[in-house]
């Protein structure tokens, strides 16, 4: 057998032209995905992209893999059934803030508590784009939209806190406008066993332009973001500032001031307790830099492996299913 030629980015581009608005952050996410997949060594036919409803959920159409554009909020449930019955496939879920956290909130958390081996991308643009501009479950309090002309009165979800609360084994945040970081994060997620969740901060330039500008603008980026690296202290603003724990309370400190050195800073640990990861997830501007990177990456039992193990153990004990035996088990009698 000849080894198949290595796949390229082009192999993952479908014949359908993306139809997102020009300038939409989704284009970059698609491009990074198509760049990363050839490196995974997985045959193209073994990838399946499953999505719900929303702008983000058009994603599968543009991937030249198997794909399923399902119904609003249900992608995790459909992907769970697929993964349980076909553990050999690499199954990706593409969703948005409304799809995952509003109509599909229940499936979203149950997928994570079960640790179903799915790679999940949540494009968070803090707005309903496809339905043309209503507030979403991640829109900020007071957000003025078509459906909230006087301002939203609903406090937003923090997607990472929800994921951590549901005990997700891999939780990360990346940004549409940071291709390198996004690629690296996608790779890490692909290699994780269990649910790998990535929140991608994504700009909807039509209905919520600049929602992440305070983090992503070149001029503020360094001081508004802190890149998480396992085993490294939380340093940002070009190495001038850091995050330190004062008891259980995080605080921003300036390195070199009052004798503060890197040794005093909070050191990132991806395998720390969920409450540590939660503390990072709750670091929000303007008083804190927003962490970007992998918040949590732990190993715990994977759903389909547990299922397969049960099936195998049962077969070991009882042999394979026999219909005749099944129907004749228990009390039977013969009429002659």
């Amino acid at each position: 057998m000849t080894t198949p030629a290595k796949l390229t980015k082009k192999d993952f581009q479908s014949d359908m032209d993306p139809r997102w608005c020009p300038g939409c952050g989704d284009y970059s996410i698609l491009a990074q995905m198509q760049t990363v997949l050839p490196d995974l060594g997985i045959p193209r036919e073994n990838f399946v992209f499953v999505s719900g409803i929303g702008c983000s959920s058009r994603f599968p159409y543009y991937m030249n893999t198997y794909g399923f554009h399902t119904i609003h909020g249900r992608a995790p449930a459909i992907a769970t059934g697929l993964k349980m019955s076909r553990p050999d496939l690499s199954v990706w879920v593409v969703t948005g803030d409304g799809d995952a956290l509003s109509i599909g909130g229940n499936h979203f958390i149950h997928m994570m508590r079960r640790n179903v081996d799915l790679k999940v991308l949540l494009f968070n643009n803090r707005i309903y784009g496809l339905t043309k501009g209503q507030y979403s479950p991640t829109s900020e309090l007071g957000k003025m939209t078509k459906s909230t002309p006087s301002g939203s009165i609903d406090a937003p979800f923090n997607p990472l806190s929800v994921a951590l609360g549901a005990n997700a084994s891999f939780v990360a945040r990346s940004v549409d406008v940071d291709p390198k970081h996004l690629q690296a994060t996608l790779l890490r997620a692909a290699k994780h066993k269990g649910t790998a969740f990535i929140e991608v901060l994504q700009n909807c330039n039509v209905f919520n332009d600049g929602a992440w500008e305070h983090l992503t603008e070149k001029s503020v980026k360094d001081s508004a973001q802190v890149k998480l690296e396992h085993g490294k202290p939380l340093v940002f603003a070009k190495g001038t500032k850091g995050v330190r724990l004062n008891g259980f309370t995080p605080e921003v400190v300036t390195l070199g001031q009052d004798g503060v050195t890197e040794k005093d800073l909070l050191v990132h640990d991806e395998k720390a307790s969920p409450s540590r990861s939660m503390l990072l997830a709750e670091l929000l501007g303007p008083h804190f830099p927003t962490p970007i990177g992998v918040f949590r990456a732990v190993e715990r039992p994977v759903h389909h492996e547990l299922d397969q193990a049960q099936l195998a153990a049962a077969r070991e004990k009882k042999g394979t299913g026999d219909l005749h035996k099944l129907l004749h088990a228990g009390d039977t009698w013969t009429v002659s």
Partner: protein, 616 residues
């Protein structure tokens, strides 16, 4: 097996053709077990039979109260039996609440066996009796046998070492022993069952065995019962038999379908009365390689099944009306993406939460029409507990042959009802043909088979066939998204035509009775037994009435229209306000008449005899 020889000759043996017995007591009294064990013994003795359990709706209604009453009815005969019996001839009553709620059903002059030990003041009060009905003469018109089962069981287990509570729980075995004796049934099957059940609890086992034997001996020695009864063997088809409930038969049908199709099976389900037993049963058979998945909700259960079907697995979901309502959007996705999923609705009383433990047939139109858009889904129904097996196989076969979701309707009545089943010869079951496409040449996701209009089933993982599907309207060939007006029109008609073509798979409709006459009774689902028996009785009286029972409800059998024209009147009995009748009227322009009942209970034969009788 032969009945065990009686140690001494009974006082007198009376031969009767059929009898209906109902065991009633508090839900803690073990009436279901008593009924099932009596059923087992009766089946082994060669009678034809049907049973129906009646559980309280509340899980833990306070002991001794009216809502806490649990019952089990068995109808057995030397003739073929199709229903669990209209009214009990014999009522075995374990406490006052059971008497209060069930006495009205007992036939006039029927036999009443009462556990007097439970007729104490507190229980009488809980049942709302001001005076003890055993002493005020109100039972004078029945053949009443008073037995202090409570005390007799205590005496029998005096030295057993069991505590008072354990002794109390054994009194159902005493009652069972008594009834086994009365109908000349052996105790061995029950003894065997007890040995299995209490294999790790020798004290309890010994106690139950003792109580059973004590009841049996009591029947024999007490002066109380003047006669015993004999119901002769029924003339039934030779072969191996077992008892089966509808839910068991459905679960085994699912396993059989995976075996016959040669592919893995998947169940996505969420607990709901009265369908949960299918999930429980399937969860026991992991060695079949069958994955049963308890999802986080009804929607996820259906969606997981769709995901499994997309992956090339034989997928099922099981639920009841309220759950089906939640699944409908996803069912629409399955029909749009043309993936095979069998959706089983064990119907219960509705609307909303309705009557979870009671039966009804009011979800037919929900199955046929209950989704947005033009969304045709094939619908079939099972007609009896054992028929659930065949109906499940048929649903799975249609699903993969036509690449479509398929509804199978059963109901609480046949799901929990039990009947003897001539176990099918596994080798004679028809294989379910499954073909996965692997040829990448000229592949279009929505290309169709010209006979069935089914598209190809493609497993992800097949090289060269990568494609995308979804809920948006599809291009009629490529399956890509299409907003084209003409294409939408074509696709809507194609989907309808595909389901309509299932008619080519429906065998000729069997008529019970003459092929023409005054009245044709058209039924569907779990009412089969009552309709069949009622029509037989009317025919015996010389009425020109026949009946047909429909397995296929969407599409309807192609010969039904002509068949109905051969009768002056078409009558449709249903446990709803007239759903099949609407379909018949609108599809065939017949002036079909309705017989309706919505009491959470099945039709009685007698009420059908009189109501059908009004038309002939």
């Amino acid at each position: 097996m032969e009945a065990q020889p009686r140690p001494s000759a009974p006082k007198s043996v009376k031969e009767i053709p059929a009898v209906t017995i109902r065991f009633v007591g508090d839900s803690g009294d073990g009436m279901q077990l008593t009924g099932l064990e009596f059923t087992r013994a009766t089946a082994i003795a060669g009678n034809d039979l049907q049973t129906f359990p009646d559980y309280p709706a509340e899980i833990r209604a306070p002991a001794g109260t009216l809502p806490g009453v649990s019952g089990f009815q068995i109808h057995f005969s030397s003739e073929p039996v199709f229903t669990p019996g209209d009214q009990p001839d014999v009522l075995v009553v374990m406490n006052p609440a059971a008497l209060k709620t069930n006495l009205k059903d007992l036939v006039a002059g029927g036999t009443l066996i009462v556990n007097t030990g439970a007729f104490i003041d507190t229980n009488l009060q809980k049942a709302g009796y001001k005076v003890n009905p055993l002493t005020d003469g109100s039972l004078a018109s029945y053949k009443t046998h008073e037995v202090d089962i409570t005390k007799l069981t205590e005496l029998a287990l005096k030295d057993s070492g069991l505590n008072a509570k354990e002794v109390g729980r054994a009194k159902n075995m005493f009652a069972l022993g008594m009834m086994l004796w009365m109908y000349g049934r052996p105790t061995e099957p029950t003894m065997r069952y007890l040995k299995e059940k209490f294999s790790t609890k020798p004290d309890i086992l010994a106690g139950n065995e003792k109580a059973l034997q004590a009841g049996y001996n009591y029947g024999e020695t007490a002066e109380l019962f003047g006669v015993t009864y004999q119901v002769k063997r029924a003339a039934i088809t030779p072969g191996a038999y077992r008892n089966v409930t509808g839910n068991e038969a459905t679960a085994w049908g699912i396993l059989a379908a995976t075996k016959l199709s040669g592919i893995n099976g998947f169940l996505g389900s969420y607990p709901i009365t009265p369908a949960s037993d299918i999930l429980h049963e399937l969860s026991k058979h992991k060695h079949w390689g069958f994955t049963s998945f308890q999802a986080e909700d009804e929607i996820a259960a259906m969606c997981a099944a769709i995901g499994a079907a997309f992956g090339g697995t034989l997928a099922f979901t099981t639920s009841s009306g309220p759950g089906i309502a939640l699944k409908q959007e996803a069912i629409g996705l399955a029909l749009m993406t043309e993936l095979p999923v069998v959706i089983i609705n064990v119907q219960r009383g509705g609307p909303s939460t309705g009557l979870p433990t009671k039966t009804e047939q009011a979800d037919l139109l929900q199955a046929i029409y209950g989704r947005n858009g033009e969304s045709p889904v094939p619908v079939i129904a099972a007609s009896s507990p054992s028929d659930c097996f065949d109906a499940t196989l048929e649903a799975a076969r249609l699903a993969v042959k036509y690449m479509t979701p398929v509804f199978l309707l059963t109901d609480g009545y046949i799901a929990n009802g039990q009947e003897p089943w001539l176990i099918p010869d596994v080798k004679a079951l028809k294989p379910i043909e499954v073909r996965f496409r692997s040829d990448p040449n000229n592949f279009f996701a929505y290309q169709r088979d010209q006979t069935t209009l089914a598209r190809d089933w493609v497993r992800p993982g097949t090289p060269g066939l990568e494609h995308r599907i979804g809920g948006l309207e599809k291009d009629k060939l490529t399956g890509g998204v299409s907003y084209d007006a003409e294409n939408h029109d074509t696709m809507v008609r194609l989907r309808a035509e595909k389901v309509a073509r299932i008619a080519q798979d429906i065998p000729p409709t069997q008529v019970h009775g003459a092929p023409e006459g005054d009245v044709l009774v058209v039924g569907w689902g779990g009412t089969h037994g009552a309709i069949f028996t009622a029509v037989s009785q009317l025919r015996a009286k010389g009425k020109a009435v026949s009946s047909v029972h429909l397995r296929h409800l969407n599409p309807l059998p192609p010969d039904l229209g002509t068949l109905m024209k051969r009768f002056k009147t078409v009558v449709v009995p249903e446990l709803n306000l007239g759903q099949l009748v609407k379909l018949l009227r609108s599809t065939h322009l017949v002036d079909a008449k309705s017989i309706n009942k919505v009491q959470g209970k099945p039709f009685k034969v007698s009420e059908l005899v009189s109501r059908i009788g009004e038309f002939c």
